[in-house]
């Protein structure tokens, strides 16, 4: 009951997280050793959530399991791995993939999601991990349909602060030198980025960059309204999704109302600053192959790379796939 994170009003639906004991002491005492431990998470997918429920296409939001994973892992880190609350938890790598599209289609009624979680502590010092590798198998309606993963690091406040300041200085200097100043030419209609509400549109219209790249400005003010004052990993997933959908439409003629982000993998190079301009350059994953492959059913998938930069400092590199579902 103690040592748990403060809760935000981000998602208030009831959720269960079950610790799966693999030892007598875990079974009897609820104790957690700094070794790989398993959990199961369950809840009902939100249909009317201002963000997770705001989908233009008839799909459940891929963002939800990533956030659920993050939330459950953070709770477990403190409850079962004894990570002190003063440590700043950050994400170094995160990813998710849809392995079976059908359960992700909204059916009209309530849908339940479950994550089978495996959390492996890393860099254990005096019994407390400095990081956590998180893997999850995602099921919707009892059917396995995706994966999610993340690598969390638990930083001391001083290290976090120093790292962040160094990144901020680099970005500010390069911005002053004229790098990464992207003019905002307009905001896309929410449907073009997979949302229904303009409130949730986080990217601007793209400009043409070098090497056949589309460069999207990320609206951090809008992101702040959605995610809060910081720049969380979830923002990159959401901005990636919006930029990727728009890029798939621009580059490959995909119809956004039937397009779905099916794979997302992000590696974070530094902390993004909410007060500095952020932009995203999108390009085909393999230059020359037009960036589109077809699955066994003949449906096209666009494979894209997305680089997030503040000034000339890369803060995240993302690989993503967009499926034209029909």
């Amino acid at each position: 009951m103690d040592l748990v994170p403060e809760l935000s009003p981000f998602f208030r639906g009831p959720q269960h997280l079950v610790h799966k004991p693999d030892s007598p002491e875990a079974f009897l005492l609820g104790a957690g050793a700094p070794v790989r431990q398993s959990f199961t998470y369950a809840t009902e997918l939100p249909a009317d959530h201002p963000l997770f429920g705001d989908m233009a296409a008839p799909f459940h939001d891929l963002l939800f399991p990533v956030e659920a994973l993050r939330h459950a892992a953070l709770f477990a880190a403190r409850q079962y791995f004894r990570v002190p609350p003063q440590r700043v938890t950050a994400v170094s790598v995160s990813g998710t993939e849809i392995t079976d599209v059908a359960p992700w289609r909204r059916s009209g009624g309530p849908a339940r999601i479950a994550l089978e979680l495996a959390l492996t502590p890393v860099n254990v010092i005096t019994g407390v991990p400095r990081g956590l590798e998180c893997e999850a198998v995602v099921s919707i309606g009892g059917r396995r349909c995706g994966t999610a993963g993340a690598e969390l690091v638990f930083l001391s406040p001083g290290v976090h602060r120093g790292h962040r300041e160094a990144g901020r200085r680099q970005s500010e200097q390069s911005l002053l030198a004229g790098h990464g100043q992207i003019a905002v030419t307009g905001v896309p209609a929410p449907e073009r980025v997979g949302r229904r509400s303009a409130h949730n549109v986080l990217v601007g219209l793209p400009a043409e960059g070098e090497d056949e790249r589309l460069v999207f400005p990320v609206d951090l003010d809008a992101a702040g309204r959605v995610f809060g004052d910081e720049v969380p990993a979830a923002l990159f997933l959401e901005a990636s999704r919006q930029a990727a959908l728009l890029a798939a439409a621009e580059l490959h003629g995909f119809v956004t109302s039937h397009a779905l982000l099916t794979r997302w993998h992000g590696a974070f190079r530094g902390f993004a600053e909410p007060a500095l301009p952020l932009h995203c350059a999108v390009y085909a994953e393999k230059p020359g192959d037009q960036g589109v492959v077809r699955d066994a059913g003949g449906l096209p998938t666009a494979r894209l790379c997305l680089d997030f930069l503040q000034g000339d400092r890369e803060v995240a590199r993302v690989s993503a796939s967009v499926l034209q579902d029909c």
């Binding site: 403060e6 809760l7 981000f10 009831p14 199961t40 369950a42 950050a90 995610f227 969380p232």
Partner: protein, 900 residues
């Protein structure tokens, strides 16, 4: 030789020129040293119409003959005349070596005697010399009276008999190819002589000319039918059948005289190996080890390398590959010998030695000899001391022998002893650990990578293009090389099939083996060889143990299935392990240190051989599982299972000894088998057992959140309870399914199940269990934030639990009331409830719940202290551990920043 009758009648130095005196001579020679009467001579000369002067004329002929007989003979006085007058006729005295007929008869007798003592070379020599005396048709060149006519026929018959015996001897000597021309001429010359046709058929068959042999039969038959109106005799007909059946015993095997002979050594290397295996795959480490061994560079000295492993593991392929690659190391020869006959029976050591000997002598056939003096009649001719002959043949030579599919130490020990200077690769399912000085290499099935590589290399484009099917085919074949090869070849041979279709055919384990047949490649036959090698009890155990749950099982499961005690069960399982029909894996650190399992294809075979699943075996296994699961459950969660008292456990199962104080570990090790047994009990219509098994395992499923297995087993159990018309069992299963739905956050379903279970328990009069359903429903309401309604439910549950004096139910309700109080900020009340909850859990003997209540109480205290110190907010919005290990998170926490 002075006198000759085996051809034109002749006499040295000069025979009478006139025919009649020569007839007298011939007649006297045919009865040499015997008195031939005058009447007989007259009859021979003139038959039934002698002249009136016959006697006088006969005397004249005798006179002429006497003159001729003494011509040129030194000392031709009275005593030199061999033709004597001896009443009632004449007697011609002839020395044994002066008449070709007597010499012939002597040689023929000697030849027959040699044949009789199986000295066929000597028989051939004697008979050949006898036959060489013949210069034409017997008694030719003179007219034949009745005596000479009969004699001529008899002599020709004697010649043919001798000829047939000589041919028989030479067939025994393996000269079938050289004899074909002679036999063809003889068969043509004597078209009705069945023996010659039989010899010709055998010679042709042994020379690999089976169709010509059949043609000979049909031509001979036609001749017999046309000329005599009769069918061939039984010997010839039987011979035809044996040729048509490719009777192995018809093939040639050398017979040798009793006395050892000096064998000529083969001039060049003897190489008798099967062709190399196409697309030989994998076994890199084993090949390297084998090559080092053959080169004498292995880690340990030795001349025998034993490759052991299950049927179909590729032992022969590996040994053959090693032998093929080792030509430089063994310049004097490399020979593979299969130590089983065509019917799969183990060769005796003697047969193995004899066959090996023939291989080295260059013989092309391996089976027992057939042809004897009586044509076509089988004669077994054991080879005297083949071990000595082998020893002589291989002594001091660099040779490699592959002894394939050895059965026992006793089978191969004499062979190894006969090859002291040779290197031997020994293959077999058994490790033959009792052999001295043998290096052992055990072959398991392929690794997954090796299996998939083989499938891709051998399966053609359809396989290459479907990696998922490759992986699944490998799994269904259990990575067994033979099965993989058959599966791949089957697909390659059927280009209209897809790899997915092959997977579909292999998916059903009851018909899988039928999908693994292709020509003479048959996985089932290979596996059956191992099965047939064990005794009757072992076979029965093999069949029954096919019912053991996947993926593996403990010895007590085997004892239950076999309806026997543990030691007896272990005897059977170990026999099957030795026969490579069952696998035993050591599990150090586990509760059950040895677990048994079937290779997937052997399990398929076991189920094939078991005509139908005996319900009694399933019942025994289920009861054993139930007794153990209940014991383990009672240690994990005392008093949890409302079906805890039904069904008697089987005799001989000791839960204390098998589980000890590690119920969680027992469940973890046996969970898969437990679920499989629930399935089997359901399939067998053992309704009560099915629902009791599921109910006994519910506590483990709940603690581990094993949702899929929980749902699967309990849905079967629910059906079983309904099939049995057992509302109490139905209620127990439904309440557990309610717990499952609650964990899954399927709130509506959870409430429905709890309510139905409550009704059924109430109807059965089980108020304590019904009360626990109320607490379950209240848990749902608590999660939904309906604290007041939840509290009312908990109060009802508490009241009922107290009325029934059910400490577990009381603890459960108190827990709920404490959580409601916490949510509503009534921490003092929560403390009281939790304290009492811990006491009731202790009373119920449930340490887990006691610890849960205690640590929750501690968390309340800690949170209160934090609030008092201004370091934390209220408890209302924080995650709650609503049941042990189950957390209710009512909101997602703050979003995380990304990191470097």
């Amino acid at each position: 030789m002075r006198f000759r009758v085996l051809g034109p009648v002749r006499m040295a130095p000069r025979a009478p020129t006139a025919a009649k005196p020569r007839v007298v001579l011939a007649t006297l020679l045919m009865q040499s040293n015997s008195v031939v009467s005058t009447h007989a001579l007259i009859d021979e000369l003139w038959s039934e119409e002698p002249p009136r002067t016959a006697a006088t004329t006969l005397q004249v002929y005798v006179s002429h003959l006497r003159k001729a007989l003494v011509e040129g003979v030194a000392g031709s006085g009275e005593g030199a005349q061999p033709l004597l007058t001896v009443p009632p006729g004449y007697q011609l005295r002839v020395a044994a070596d002066d008449l070709d007929l007597l010499v012939f008869e002597t040689l023929r007798d000697e030849g027959r005697a040699a044949y009789g003592r199986k000295d066929y070379a000597e028989a051939s020599r004697r008979l050949s010399r006898a036959l060489a005396l013949w210069t034409g048709p017997a008694l030719s060149g003179i007219p034949h009276g009745p005596t000479l006519q009969t004699s001529a026929i008899r002599l020709d018959e004697l010649r043919l008999e001798a000829l047939e015996q000589r041919i028989s001897a030479e067939l025994r000597m393996g000269r079938h190819q050289e004899l074909i021309g002679e036999l063809m001429a003889l068969a043509h010359e004597h078209p009705l002589r069945e023996t010659l046709h039989c010899h010709l058929m055998v010679a042709l068959y042994r020379s690999g000319r089976q169709s010509d042999a059949l043609h000979v039969y049909h031509r001979a038959r036609r001749g017999l039918v046309d000329e005599l109106g009769v069918e061939p005799g039984p010997v010839m007909s039987r011979l035809l059948e044996r040729i048509l059946a490719s009777d192995a015993s018809l093939t040639w095997q050398r017979d040798t005289p009793a006395a050892p002979e000096v064998l000529p050594r083969p001039a060049g290397p003897v190489v008798r190996l099967p062709g190399p295996v196409d697309h030989f795959t994998g076994r890199t480490a084993q090949l390297a080890l084998g090559q080092r061994f053959l080169a004498g560079a292995g880690p340990l000295p030795g001349r025998v390398l034993a490759l052991s492993g299950r049927a179909g593991a590729g032992k022969t392929a590996l040994a053959a590959r090693l032998a093929h690659d080792a030509g430089d190391l063994f310049p004097d020869g490399r020979v593979l010998l299969l130590l089983r006959d065509a019917g799969g029976r183990a060769l005796t050591p003697h047969a193995a030695l004899s066959t090996l000997l023939r291989r080295l002598r260059g013989g092309s056939q391996d089976a027992a000899p057939v042809v004897a003096g009586e044509p076509g009649a089988p004669v077994v001719a054991p080879e005297p001391e083949p071990a000595d002959l082998l020893y002589e043949l291989t002594k001091g030579r660099k040779m490699l022998f592959v002894l394939d599919d050895a059965v026992s130490e006793a089978q191969v020990r004499p062979v190894l002893a006969a090859l002291p200077d040779s290197t031997v690769l020994l293959t077999g399912r058994h490790a033959l650990g009792a052999l001295d000085g043998v290096q052992h290499l055990v072959l398991d099935v392929f690794s997954r990578e090796e299996a998939e590589e083989l499938l891709v290399r051998c399966g053609g484009p359809a396989m290459r293009e479907d990696p998922a099917a490759v992986s699944e085919t490998a799994r269904l074949c259990g990575n067994l090389p033979l099965a993989l090869r058959v599966a791949a070849a089957g697909l390659a041979a059927r280009p209209h099939w897809s790899a997915a279709e092959l997977v579909g055919r292999l998916a059903d384990e009851r018909t899988r083996l039928s999908s693994l047949e292709l020509g003479d490649l048959d996985v089932r036959s290979s596996l059956l060889t191992a099965y047939r090698d064990v005794g009757i009890q072992g076979r029965q155990a093999f069949r029954l143990l096919g019912l053991a749950p996947l993926p593996d099982f403990a010895l007590w499961s085997a004892a239950a299935l076999l309806a026997t005690e543990l030691p007896e069960a272990e005897r059977h399982t170990e026999e099957l392990v030795r026969a490579q029909l069952l696998e035993a894996r050591s599990r150090p650190g586990q509760l059950t240190t040895v677990r048994y399992s079937f290779h997937p294809l052997l399990r398929s075979l076991s189920l094939e051989l078991l005509d139908k699943r005996p319900v009694s075996a399933t019942d025994r296994l289920g009861r054993a599982f139930l007794a153990l699961a209940r014991h383990a459950d009672s240690l994990l969660a005392p008093g949890r299972d409302p079906l805890g008292d039904t069904l008697e456990p089987p005799a001989g199962i000791s839960p204390d000894a098998l589980i000890g104080s590690a119920p969680l570990q027992w469940f973890r090790e046996e969970a898969a088998g437990l679920l499989e047994t629930v399935r089997q009990a359901h399939a067998a219509g053992l309704w009560q057992l099915c629902s009791a098994l599921a109910s006994a395992s519910a506590g483990y499923y709940e603690a581990g959140a094993l949702w899929d297995d929980w749902e699967l087993g309990h849905q079967l159990a629910l059906d079983a309870a309904r099939q049995a018309g057992d509302p109490h069992a139905e209620a127990a299963v439904l309440r557990s399914l309610g717990d499952l739905a609650w964990q899954r956050q399927e709130t509506t379903t959870a409430v429905d199940r709890y309510r139905l279970a409550w009704h059924l328990f109430t109807r059965c009069g089980d108020r304590a269990s019904a009360a626990r359903c109320l607490s379950g429903e209240a848990d749902v309401m608590l999660g939904q934030g309906r604290g007041a309604r939840a509290e009312r439910c908990y109060v009802r549950a508490l009241s009922a639990g107290q009325a029934e004096n059910d400490p577990r139910g009381i603890a459960d309700a108190l827990r709920g009331l404490a959580l409601v109080a916490l949510r509503e900020g009534r921490t003092a009340e929560a403390r009281g409830r939790l304290t009492e909850c811990a006491a009731q859990a202790r009373r119920a003997g449930d340490r887990r719940w006691e610890e849960y209540a205690t640590r929750t109480l501690g968390a309340v205290d800690a949170a209160d202290a934090a609030v008092a110190a201004g370091r934390g907010g209220d408890l209302a919005g924080r995650p709650l551990e609503v049941r042990p290990g189950v957390w209710l998170l009512s909101a997602l926490g703050p979003a995380l920043p990304q990191s470097a």
